[in-house]
């Protein structure tokens, strides 16, 4: 059926183009082809995802990709997106899929919060001259300590910076991207998360001290050895990009190696159901947490990851009481390889509100120290990290930001498996585009840069240990927010 959808982009090619065909090789969507009859390159803008790969790799810098100028007659009710979604569904009869996090203009609360800085009465601290500590412990803490010579606590994760890589499974992302995350985590003193796709056997001995393995509803790649080859185990109940929705890795992406890692036949679809079929109550979750602790000899903290949804504080309370050591909350701007567009853009709540509500509830109930909170789903900068911790999180997960560090341009075509940057694909040719060493170095650099910035912001507040920022809402002020939003966030307005 002929598509009636307007192209999203226009492609212009300057006279500099010498027909080297680099763009043709770079584009996995078949946009560029060589027209031998006219000895020139031609482009089909309808196929363009806007990934900018061709523009970046054109040796002459001759290609420019811009948003298409064509538009429908302006209509406040019927935006171009609404019109084209209907056209696409009329053409396919299916659920619209998309990748990455929601791009809708919901209020980003990070941008409506401002940080404090010391002036005169409380000296700011220069992180270049004074110690500035970002070491963070994630896990259950006892209410008090009984002094013994071997004073110790429950198992915890020790991070040198309060940032972890969130779950991105091997299968959804390429082996190279997966490896790069693992290497960067081990070099930076933090953790990567295997997602629900298991961990390749050859990586286990190398990265077990920096891995968080995930138990999702599909139970792919899970056995006792897998659970024990990590520093922590995460039970994934939900994710911010698609709360209440399972996962689906198409058979085309299930290569031999992915199949072996996931313990499924090669080329078959890997479908994670929306619910865990052994969890239909909080008691069931408690049993699974206990089972995992038993299997791992009570040596690893157990994380429970949920999407930020309407009643998140009550849900969080139940999860903590069920024995989770760490609660990971994923906000609605969290990314994904593939999600129904309607779910991604309409379900869940922003992570900022969820952190605040959960932290307050757990403190009101006096159980906040029984578990740590990792906030994810919309962390875009070091300032977001600082604000998340001031709102009550212990640390943050970054996913999309890590992908961008590796080269992702958020073209939102992850679900096609044709990632031009070699990140979200199992195509051997495309995968090779991502150099593991270079990608891991970019990730290390990102964490290093953000850590430096966090230290600068802490120093400005007169704080030299990150633990003194946690829940320290005095350091935040809201701007451009309604009273109910200020109340929910538990912060005062700017100028107060």
């Amino acid at each position: 059926m002929r598509s009636l959808v307007l192209p999203d982009f226009t492609i212009s090619r300057s006279e500099e183009c010498d027909g080297c065909r680099a763009c043709e090789h770079q584009c996995p969507f078949g946009v560029h082809t060589y027209d031998a009859s006219n000895d020139r390159m031609v482009s089909d803008s309808r196929k363009c995802a806007g990934c900018q790969r061709c523009a970046v790799f054109c040796p002459k810098g001759a290609i420019e990709i811009r948003p298409a100028p064509s538009f429908y007659r302006p209509n406040a009710s019927w935006s171009r997106e609404r019109i084209e979604d209907i056209k696409r569904q009329a053409e396919t009869g299916g659920v619209l899929l998309t990748g990455c996090g929601s791009d809708k203009p919901f209020r980003i609360y990070w941008d409506h919060m401002l940080l404090n800085a010391s002036q005169v009465t409380n000296p700011s601290i220069d992180p270049l001259r004074e110690p500035m500590e970002l070491r963070t412990f994630l896990g259950s803490k006892p209410e008090r300590i009984l002094l013994r010579d071997d004073a110790d606590t429950d198992p915890v994760l020790t991070l040198e910076t309060p940032i972890l890589f969130s779950a991105m499974s091997y299968g959804a992302i390429s082996y190279n991207a997966f490896q790069a995350l693992a290497i960067a985590a081990s070099r930076s003193g933090t953790f990567f998360n295997t997602g629900e796709g298991g961990m390749p056997a050859e990586m286990r001995p190398l990265f077990k001290k920096h891995a968080i393995v995930q138990v999702a509803s599909g139970r792919f790649g899970i056995d006792a050895e897998y659970l024990n080859c990590a520093a922590a185990v995460e039970i994934k109940i939900g994710q911010g990009a698609k709360p209440g929705i399972g996962g689906h890795l198409p058979g085309e992406k299930v290569s031999k190696h992915v199949a072996a890692t996931r313990m499924i036949p090669e080329g078959t679809d890997a479908i994670s159901p929306a619910p865990h079929h052994d969890i239909y109550s909080i008691e069931d979750l408690e049993m699974l947490i206990s089972a995992i602790k038993e299997v791992t000899n009570y040596e690893k903290p157990v994380i429970v990851k949920v999407a930020a949804v309407h009643n998140i504080s009550a849900i969080a309370s139940g999860i903590v009481r069920a024995g989770a050591d760490i609660l990971a909350i994923d906000g609605m701007r969290g990314g994904t390889g593939a999600a129904p567009k309607v779910i991604r853009d309409n379900v869940g709540i922003p992570i900022e509100l969820a952190i605040s509500a959960v932290d307050r509830r757990l403190r009101d109930e006096g159980i906040r120290e029984r578990c740590s909170i990792i906030a994810g789903g919309g962390i875009r900068s070091s300032a977001d990290v600082v604000k998340a911790i001031a709102l009550g999180a212990d640390a943050v997960y970054i996913g999309t930001a890590a992908l961008i560090a590796m080269g992702c341009t958020l073209c939102q075509r992850c679900y096609t498996g044709r990632c031009s940057w070699g990140i979200c694909t199992q195509d051997p040719g495309l995968m090779r585009r991502l150099n593991v060493e270079e990608a891991s170095q970019r990730l290390v650099n990102l964490l290093s840069a953000w850590s430096h910035e966090i230290k600068e912001m802490l120093g400005g507040m007169g704080i030299n240990a990150i633990e003194s920022l946690r829940g320290n809402r005095d350091q935040l002020r809201g701007i451009g927010l309604h009273e109910w939003e200020l109340d929910l966030l538990g912060i005062r307005g700017a100028g107060e």
């Binding site: 110690p131 500590e133 412990f137 008090r144 300590i145 829940g471 809402r473 350091q475 538990g490």
Partner: protein, 382 residues
Amino acid sequence: MPVRRQKLYTKEICACSIFGAMSRAGERFTGERVIRAMASMHHRGNGLGGGFAAYGIYPEFGEYYAFHLMFTGDASAQRDAKRAAEDFLFRNFDVVHEEEIPHSDDVYVRDPPLLWRYFLAPSKRGEEVHLSDEEYVVRKVIHVNSAIDNAYIFSSGKNMGCFKGVGYPEEIGRYFMLDRLYRGYLWTAHGRFPTNSQAWWGGAHPFGLLDTTVVHNGEISSYGTNRWYLEMFGYRCTLHTDTEVIAYAVDLLMRRHDLPVEIVAKILAPPIWDTIDRMDVCERRKLTALRMVYAPLLMNGPFAVIIAQSGRMIGLTDRIRLRPLTVATRGDMFYISSEEAAVRLISQSLDSVWSPKGGEPVVCELEGGPEGRLEHEIAGPA
């Protein structure tokens, strides 16, 4: 601004002068020299707060909790607050003596509230009979301070008391006639320089809970984190001062969690990770566990504090020592001060003078330990 948010997120911030003097032998002396020492640091305050804590001043009521209450507002509000507070106190305690706290009308102070003191014994009923006296008292103090408008219990220990208000410390000292009416073996004092907030009588230092009092110079930038953590243990930070969170933290750690002073100092002002990482395995594990469990009680920002308890005085600065603190001894006298000059003024000859390292506590106890005080008081002059 909604009252709820205002209550949650307002605090008072200050830098200041602090001073402490203690006789290790338990000899009691008037507040006269302490007032003089504070007056010498006049310039460190700005007349918006001064206060004293004195230990050993009520031997005749030594077995009873001495509550100092402040009733604020206009005359009518003061009367209502007093009535409500007394109604509560008389229902929950046996009151053996009550009186207005003596003060001198010759000294001008601005807007003094009604100040009253009560000597009490807990009168526990129902499930509360299982509580220790101290826990019972703490709960009642927190109730009054958080639930009764315009009534604040700013001192609640045995045989000790806090005296504070808006003014220079020497004015406050003379207002309460500390140089004439009271003799104590341990005195701490505070001159206040509030910069970010209005001064009020309740916000002056010291802040006390049971017999723990805190005077403090600096600004706790971790106040928000400290307060959120303490509230989980039932403390309510109604006075919005940094001293309040320090006092509650000390109460939690020393009384409820039974941790020794040295450990408490390691929690409030812990060594930096680089130092901890170089320690032997046993010490490293202990300090790591402490930082892990009590991370929210790390006091960040610049501070120097004197924490006093019956029979004990503790000096402590933040771990990178951003506020001054000088310690000195002369015979059985032990001094802690923001400035050496203040000590020299009242004791020109000193045996030793030093500045403690950041995060390293200086502890002075009565001879024979904190409990030695009791024997001395029984034997000593009233």
